[in-house]
Amino acid sequence: MTAAAARTAEPLDELTLRRAQRGDEQAWRALIARFQHPVHALIWRLLAGRARHRVEDLVQESFVRVLRALPQFDPAGPATLSTWILTIATRLALNELRRPEASTLVAEPLAHERADHATERQRLATAIAACVAELPEPQRVVLVLREYHDLEYQEIASMLDVEIGTVKSRLARARTALRDGLRARIPDAVRGLGGPHAR
């Protein structure tokens, strides 16, 4: 589900949120159904290159923490429910990225990687995944949050507890690294990319 599609999906109405905060299991299910795609997508992208079961573990853990902290969430507070949930998931993913990586861990095959029917789009997907996995964690996080979850700079800054300027500089470096990496991997697919220009 793309970020745009997630935004136009059925919103979590206030009544359901209140019920979820009171521990209503059906409301919990509705909340999880509403946010499972963006949370899963976020963790999957942040953990690019890690074993898939860790993604699923962390997605579960994210929602467990969300549900446990939900009674304290203030809908009128500074963060929207969506941003609040993604913040929890991001921090869990960051903790995972900072754990020592065992040498026996092997990167899972990417979702679209099929050598026998590699289309241009699949090649691009594989290349993007590889480039993102190579990004330093600070750049990777900002890139994913901005490009795939449409978060504002202030939201990202609050989430990561950094200044907005830091978010922008990391994003710029991430984009440059991604562009250069893609050009090196699939030059024909990104032919025509010059220097940075307004989007």
Partner: protein, 501 residues
């Protein structure tokens, strides 16, 4: 969610021309909600907090000599374990480890993630990994070709967990109150641990009390000494079907037994009361409408013209009457399919023809089903109409979501534009685009800048209000329109440049 990009502020390093959406994740695992809820049923080890650095576990040992004995006795073989300070990523054929911080250990093709304070001993024999998990929490990832057997120690019969091609979390802890129930002495109880295992993936066999059960993904199992494996997620027998048997409390005193009986009786009574209440509600029949906020109902609206204006004759009548502003309110109900169930006038505008026109107009509105707890539900809400009598262009507005700037403008002296914009952002992020648009349009009557117009256009497209989108997009400089046009196209609204002022 983010607002429209101000290109002048955009960091360098454009990715223009690269379709980042090509990199899409797989679908979330099935039964995610069931697994999460199963974990929620576990007793929480600590208060729920946002993710932080892991806090060192504090052991709930009783103070004093008992605790000292217990701690010493946990060391089953009688040695004192030194704390290791470094990970051992590639384990030897046998070894032991006590972790002081989160650590990862590779055992053959399998991985153990140890929480601080976890203690393990293991023996590797080919693809068989025999582990004694003495204490603490370990998350196991067992390779398909490996067989992990976790022995939690304690008196016979042994309690084991066996897994292959699975992912699970095992917590070994001591609970002194359970020790009392188990009826063991303190010293021997110290050598007994309570084991809780949560299975994330694959199947795990749990053996305890001489019985073996298969534990499916999403399930939690408890291994209590001398008892069969306990699966807390299993459904509770109805009180009237549960055989009358005394509580299992080996070694408990008669008073404790009576307390347990009393608690069971009280729980049964509460359960019966709740069942009766649910039955009574069900008997009232399905589909009792729920009253919701106007903004919430309006978010479900998908068609129909909100701007219901009086006809010319009525306008002249309003002018002759000298009514500066007229207000009418109507109760609107939709059924589970989103169809209009009823439109009932609550407050007349004072003009019959206008009342009738409003009612006809509202009945032409279309909604998608409104979901409550994920299921379509009949709902009602109130819709207000405000008409300003003026010879100039005015339109009737309905609340919510968005009166046009010329209708019922706010008092700009007291209206907080920044607060309204922040609220609009929250509404938009929560999926209430119409409510967000209403707030921005109200704010625009007091303050106007390019950013606000861009947001208004964005929200209008998200709310599928093409007319308003065109109107406000005309206030946005042409060089800044492209991202908005693209976003509107994603929402199914095509604003060609010819349509925009």
């Amino acid at each position: 969610m983010r607002d429209d990009r101000d290109d002048r502020d955009e960091p360098d390093g454009s990715l223009s021309g690269i379709d980042l959406t090509a990199w899409q994740p797989p679908a979330p695992p099935p039964e995610l909600a069931a697994r999460v809820i199963a974990r929620m049923r576990e007793p929480a080890p600590a208060a729920a907090v946002e993710p932080q650095e892991r806090r060192p576990r504090r052991w709930g040992w009783a103070a004093g000599a008992t605790a000292s004995v217990a701690i010493a006795a946990v060391v089953v073989v009688g040695r004192t374990w030194g704390l290791t300070h470094g990970p051992a990523p590639d384990a030897d054929a046998h070894g032991e480890l006590v972790s002081v911080r989160p650590q990862q250990l590779a055992l053959g093709g399998s991985i153990a993630d140890l929480d601080p304070g976890a203690e393990l001993r293991w023996v590797l024999e080919g693809h068989r990994i025999s582990v004694h998990q003495v204490r603490g929490t370990v998350r196991w990832t067992v390779a398909d070709e490996d067989t992990l057997v976790i022995d939690t120690g304690g008196p016979a019969p042994t309690r084991t967990l066996e897994a292959s091609g699975a992912s699970l979390r095992v917590e070994v802890s001591m609970n002194l109150s359970d020790v009392r129930l188990v009826g063991l002495t303190t010293a021997s109880a110290a050598a007994v641990a309570l084991v809780t295992a949560v299975v994330y993936q694959g199947h795990v066999r749990a053996t305890s009390g001489g019985q073996t059960v298969n534990v499916a993904p999403g399930a939690t199992v408890k291994l209590v000494p001398q008892r069969p494996p306990q699966l807390p997620a299993e459904p509770v027998e109805p009180a009237d079907q549960r055989p009358d048997r005394p509580p299992v409390a080996v070694g408990a005193s008669p008073d404790e037994l009576q307390q347990l009986r009393d608690r069971l009786q009280a729980a049964d009574a509460e359960l019966a009361r709740l069942r009766a209440e649910v039955a009574a509600r069900t008997a009232q029949g399905p589909g009792r409408p729920i009253t919701i906020e106007p903004a919430a109902l309006d978010a479900a609206r998908v068609g129909g013209d909100r701007n219901i204006v009086p006809d010319d004759d009525t306008r002249r009548a309003i002018d002759r009457a000298g009514a500066g502003k007229i207000v009418g309110s109507f109760k609107l109900c939709i059924d589970t399919t989103g169809a209009i169930a009823s439109v009932t006038m609550q407050t007349s505008t004072g003009f019959d023809a206008y009342d009738r026109k409003i009612e006809r107009g509202m009945r032409s509105w279309t909604y998608r089903p409104f979901l409550v707890d994920g299921k379509p539900a009949p709902v009602c809400s109130e819709v207000s109409f405000v008409y300003m009598s003026d010879a100039a262009e005015r339109r009737t507005s309905s609340r919510p979501p968005r009166p046009p700037p010329t209708a019922s403008p706010p008092d700009c002296g007291t209206f907080n534009v920044e607060d309204a914009m922040a609220q609009a952002q929250n509404q938009y992020a929560a999926g209430f685009a119409k409510a967000a648009l209403s707030l921005v349009m109200k704010a625009l009557t007091c303050k106007q800048d390019v950013k606000m117009y861009r947001l208004a256009a964005l929200y209008a497209c998200a709310a599928h209000d093409a007319a308003t989108a065109r109107q406000v997009l005309g206030k946005v400089p042409v060089p800044l329109r492209a991202p908005i046009l693209q976003r509107c196209q994603q929402e199914g609204i095509d604003l060609s440049s010819a349509d925009v002022p």
